[in-house]
């Protein structure tokens, strides 16, 4: 059974100024059980092949399973513009609280 809230610490700047390094975020892992992710929501993604967790904003919902994500700091972000849309199964949860 998965814990409904997870705690993460932001490491880099691509979501600046919304999120900065050393900000904490609380993430609801239950948000998308009853509904699908929506545009403009900030989410945590687990990259495939045991990759790291990344934080991005959903720019467009392409389908129920495909999401185009982007960093708020567009000039300094590697995101769906580079690695393409992400799958629903890779979304860990929705960011519900930022602690700075």
């Amino acid at each position: 059974m998965q814990f409904p809230i997870k705690r993460f610490r932001v490491e880099d700047y691509s979501m600046a100024p919304t999120f900065l390094p050393n900000d904490y975020v609380l993430v609801s892992t239950f948000s998308y059980i009853f509904r699908l992710p929506r545009a403009n929501e900030v989410i945590i993604i687990k990259l495939p092949h045991n990759g790291p967790f990344i934080i991005k904003r959903i720019e467009r919902v392409l389908s129920a399973n495909k999401y185009f994500v982007i960093g708020d700091n567009k000039n300094n972000s590697i995101d769906s513009r580079k690695f393409g849309p992400i799958d629903l199964k890779n979304i860990v949860g929705r960011v519900i609280l930022k602690i700075r």
Partner: protein
């Protein structure tokens, strides 16, 4: 600092939060100064080989001239390519790996990177062993700092290459 942030910082000592990356080239998290070090050694080796070429004279035969030109072009080509490769690897470390907190702890970092760029350019432009050795020395210093930021001790040993110059290696289990 908010009270909540203090609580979270306190909690961090006992149950560290998972790290979430906002930026990075993928992010893969794979950085290593070794490629820059090997490139710097290659630049030294090419300078050695160039200096060991048998000089031409007015009495040199056509095949000797051809052989000299061929080798000089090859050594120079590799010297230029590896100088540039060294710069490229250093730029990745400088721009992608090192963060402001590293510079706070190692204030000489920017100066070292800036110097290494200049050394590499000089080593590329000239047949200049001194510049090549300076480049390797600077790259080794950067390598020592790199591993320190990861909490990994290093050894400075004589590299098992014909250059017989030092290389900084991490002490890994």
């Amino acid at each position: 600092m908010s009270l909540l942030k203090e609580v979270f910082n306190f909690l961090e000592f006992f149950i560290p939060a998972k790290k979430v990356y906002a930026h990075c080239d993928i992010p893969c998290g794979i950085y290593d100064p070794h490629l820059a070090q090997v490139s710097a050694h290659t630049v030294i080796r090419m300078n050695m080989l160039i200096s060991q070429l048998k000089p031409l004279s007015t009495g040199s035969k056509a095949e000797e001239i051809n052989d000299y030109n061929h080798k000089l072009i090859r050594y120079t080509d590799i010297k230029e390519k590896h100088s540039e490769l060294c710069k490229q690897e250093l730029r990745i470390l400088w721009g992608d790996y090192f963060k402001p907190e590293h510079v706070q702890k190692f204030p000489e970092l920017h100066e070292l990177f800036w110097k290494s760029m200049k050394d590499a350019s000089k080593a590329k432009q000239e047949i200049n062993m001194r510049a090549a050795e300076e480049l390797l020395n600077t790259v080794n210093k950067i390598a020592e700092i790199f591993w320190k930021t990861k909490g990994i001790e290093t050894n400075r040993v004589k590299a098992p290459y014909p250059t017989e110059h030092d290389i900084v290696l991490p002490k890994l289990d």
